[in-house]
Symmetry: C2
Amino acid sequence: MTSTRHFSLAMDRLRNAGLRPTRQRLALAKLLFEAGDRHITAEQLHSEALQANIRVSLATVYNTLHQFTEAGLLREIVADSGRSYFDTNTSDHHHFYFEKNGMLMDIPNHEMVVNGLPNPPAGTRIARIEVVVRLAE
Amino acid sequence: MTSTRHFSLAMDRLRNAGLRPTRQRLALAKLLFEAGDRHITAEQLHSEALQANIRVSLATVYNTLHQFTEAGLLREIVADSGRSYFDTNTSDHHHFYFEKNGMLMDIPNHEMVVNGLPNPPAGTRIARIEVVVRLAE
DNA sequence: GTGTTTGCAAAGTGTTTGCAATTTA
DNA sequence: TAAATTGCAAACACTTTGCAAACAC
């Protein structure tokens, strides 16, 4: 707790991930990580940034989301062919998907479990198991 | 087993689904259903049709896949943001997804089970549970 | 004949890319 | 100032749509 500490949590995250803490990355990191768990698309994050008066291009939002994902700060979720979701909760969990409006929601921790995992076909390994519970009205 | 029966299985399927058995629908139904379980995208089916000398437009392939899905002859699978897969196996089962080449494969019947289904949020019902086991090399 | 289906080409959506200008360290 | 990052606009991949011509019954 030194008095010369100027670095925010967001800045630390970026530094630790080896990403230069540029104005755009810092602002996006704050939007993403300072509001609890989020599931967001590139276009949603972009318009949120613009509303918050953060000038950033959509291309940079895409770049940033992918860089954060590679750095392990985000997880990409496939729930809808047509767009990608990014989840700020990178721990092992699954999702509800509301078909009505395209929203995602975490399924409360370990409430649901996958049993009897199959052996992966020869020459492959399981990279991830993704469970999406699709909800209709 | 009357001797005046001219209708193929594919034609029966279409009639039962209330779809006119047009040349295009019949040909696509044969490609889809006469070769065991398949996981196919619209573009794959289109190029397969062209190779088999079936003249059909990509738009018609899309229309047909959606009509077959609505009629319950196919199931749409979300495994990759960017394209839709259609599965000729409409029974309850899950999939391996090969990240390497974008292919899907059924997970052998009931080898894997989801336990502890969560209650759906108020005002919703579970429309489907989709499990995708993503495979890397 | 009448309503359905098809094919084309255009438009739409979400995403990626090339590259010059800007920013960071 | 050297390397990384950004923004723009164009390109992309996949999908949907509007409408006139062709087809099924």
